[in-house]
């Protein structure tokens, strides 16, 4: 029996949503400074406007309840679901004023795509976009990638004790790397800072060597790092990663993609000096096996279609897109039409699976996640063993994820449930795309790309796309990032609220 929301729940929800949205106002200072330094006065005003709106909306919501107000688990889930929506709305404001979007809906699409680290885009005339706006688009990957909650925690916006913990768990983060929630959040930002510095440095050098002037080299390097480490997928030019025509760019960014898809617990372990965990860890193994099998499929598929005649080309294109897909990044060095035209067949299917399966939990990747796949695989094997053992024997198993943990029915049930939810969403989105008249293969590809927050596109996602389909992908990106549970909490509460109104009337 789902209980509806009382006023005290609503005000608490509003309060925490407001605090999170206010943090976006602070973040917008960066693109504002970028605009001022670059002499982009029009965009500077776009950000003044955006900061004002974000601050006002955030503060008005936060005013609804006192600081440190108690918030339970269920309400924390709702805050998470709502925060993504409200934050995307607020983040879309400066973009909608930029002139690079056909409508507010398009700007909202890009904002939620940025924050959920998807990377599908409806931007127009990207090659003439102001530096400030490109800065904001790529910043949304950083902010959303670390989780809006984590971002707010680090900035210490007055979330106290229990509230912080509830929101943190609601976000889908299951790690407790360091004893205190605030410390864990800060460590996540620390890893990010290290990788962003490394990536920006390495790519800046690469860009300079390719003839870019200093300012652009650094900006592009920072943006590409944010896009790859946060497995987002936006790029500052319309050709995305193909713009660079550079094996160095591809090599460095692939390393960043893998870093971004690595579970934060594993980062912590490796940095503590434990070199064995990454090899024993079920999730790391599952991901490695996953990519390994799919790489065979990609190699075979590409050889069959014959799109890339030289082995070196085949490997370079195949590998890059496989890792881009599996990590949920979404950068591509081919044009949208080349998915069917160049990849085609088996390789195309393998990429869809790579996107669908996804990266590791507790990282910025999307999809079903490697840990669940590993658990399901183990679960299947366990069931088979149980079935063929004598009835009186007890067959159990355990798995290694940081520690040895028993493989219980509960754990398996959770994994299977999420697997099912994703799969149903993938297929439904594909069917809806087909209903709009797009070929099934491409519709399925795009649906998976949206739900798993990847960002690779066959070209269906473009400003001329039907508004209904834009909304469908928005919902898919949102649902996928929340891993459904928080979304269901929100929907169930709303439905229960409406129902109780009805029965009273």
């Amino acid at each position: 029996m789902w209980v509806g929301l009382h006023r005290r729940d609503l005000v608490a929800i509003a309060h925490y949503t407001g605090l999170l949205v206010s943090s976006l106002a602070l973040a917008m200072i960066i693109p504002l400074v970028t605009a001022l330094v670059a002499g982009e006065w029009g965009p500077a005003l776009d950000y003044v406007c955006g900061i004002g709106v974000a601050a006002a909306v955030g503060m008005l919501l936060a005013l609804q309840a006192p600081r440190g107000v108690h918030i339970g688990r269920r309400d924390a889930l709702i805050v998470t679901a709502l925060a993504w929506l409200v934050a995307s709305f607020v983040a879309a404001v400066p973009l909608s004023l930029s002139g690079n979007y056909g409508s507010f809906l398009d700007a909202f699409f890009d904002a939620i795509s940025g924050l959920t680290t998807s990377g599908l885009t409806l931007v127009q005339d990207l090659d003439h976009m102001a530096l400030a706006h490109n800065m904001w688009r790529h910043l949304t990957h950083l902010i959303g990638g670390q989780g809006i909650i984590v971002a707010a925690l680090s900035v210490a916006l007055g979330l106290k004790g229990g509230a912080a913990m509830s929101l943190y768990i609601a976000e889908g983060r299951d790690e407790r790397i360091l004893p205190n929630v605030m410390h864990t959040a800060r460590f996540i930002w620390f890893v990010t800072a290290v990788y962003v510095t490394f990536g920006t440095l390495a790519l800046s050098i690469s860009n300079l060597l390719h003839g870019m002037e200093l300012g652009r080299s650094v900006l592009h390097a920072f943006w590409a790092t944010a896009a790859c480490y946060d497995t987002g997928g936006f790029g500052p030019q319309s050709q995305n990663a193909l713009y660079y025509h550079s094996p160095f760019f591809e090599g460095i960014t692939v390393v960043l993609m893998l870093a971004g898809t690595l579970n934060f617990n594993l980062h912590a372990d490796l940095w503590r000096g434990d070199r064995t965990e990454i090899f024993k860890n079920l999730e790391a193994r599952a991901l490695a096996v996953n990519i390994g099998i799919l790489s065979l499929a990609v190699g075979l598929g590409l050889a069959v279609t014959g799109a890339f005649s030289e082995p070196a080309e085949l490997v370079r294109k195949g590998l890059y897109h496989l890792i881009s897909a599996n990590s949920g990044t979404g950068h591509q060095t081919i044009y949208a039409s080349q998915w069917i035209g160049g990849f085609g067949g088996l390789a195309f299917g393998a990429i869809i699976l790579a996107m669908a399966f996804g990266g590791m939990a507790s990282s910025t990747a999307g999809g079903i996640k490697a840990l669940r796949l590993g658990l399901i695989a183990k679960g299947v094997i366990l069931r088979v063993r149980q079935a063929i053992s004598p009835p009186s024997s007890v067959v159990t198993d355990k798995y290694h994820h940081l520690l040895d943990v028993p493989l219980t029915a509960d754990v398996l049930a959770n994994a299977l449930m999420v697997f099912t939810l994703y799969t149903v969403t993938y297929i439904s989105g594909g069917m809806i795309g087909a209903a709009y008249g797009y070929p099934m293969g491409e519709a399925l590809f795009e649906s998976v790309s949206a739900t798993a927050n990847v960002g690779l596109s066959t070209g269906i996602t473009n400003p001329a796309m039907p508004a209904g389909l834009k909304l469908v992908y928005i919902v898919q990106m949102w649902a996928g990032r929340l891993e459904f549970i928080a979304l269901f909490a929100l929907v169930a509460s709303v439905v229960a609220g409406v129902r109780s109104r009805w029965s009273r009337a």
Partner: protein
């Protein structure tokens, strides 16, 4: 007399034959979207298209550079010798519309020299129109909205502080 005639004919033949040779390989007029469409059937053919030069030239190795030409909304990477860029002055970005050029070159949907990238190896470049500065209107109302928002936020924050410090909700 026959010697002068022969000379004239010879000279004519020399002038005409390259034209005949070039005419043997057809040039297809196309656009950016068609080039990138994978269904154009133009892979390996000589194409000609017009567009705006954008962003910047990147080193392409072997005395060549990459120049991106934005044609009807799709940017195509064109690999051309350094010298060919002499005619290009303005590259398109936020502040400027770039030079409009006509490029003729061979299209490769998976270029063997460039890791399988889709590109055009330019054989000639012609400047059609010089680029110019873009005007962007500064819309002051946005400043107004922003300031109002900040005032509202500040007032709200003050109220929150006061309520924290004593009053009940």
């Amino acid at each position: 007399m026959s010697r002068s005639l022969a000379t004239v004919l010879l000279v004519l033949a020399v002038i005409v034959s390259p034209a005949l040779a070039m005419a043997a390989e057809p040039v297809y007029d196309t656009t950016g979207p068609e080039i990138a469409s994978s269904g154009s059937g133009l892979d390996g053919a000589i194409v000609r298209f017009e567009g705006e030069v954008v962003s910047e030239p990147l080193f392409g190795g072997q005395g060549h550079v990459w120049v991106n030409v934005l044609s009807e909304g799709t940017a195509i990477g064109v690999w051309m010798p350094d010298e060919m860029t002499a005619e290009i002055e303005v590259f398109g970005r936020y502040s400027h519309t770039g030079d409009i050029v006509r490029v003729t070159g061979r299209l490769s949907e998976a270029c063997d020299e460039h890791g399988g990238d889709l590109d055009v190896h330019a054989e000639s470049l012609e400047l059609i129109e010089r680029g110019e500065r873009r005007e962007h209107a500064v819309e002051w109302w946005k400043l107004g909205v922003g300031l109002v928002g900040l005032v509202v936020a500040y007032a709200g924050w003050r109220r929150m502080r006061r309520k924290d410090e004593g009053a009940e909700w």
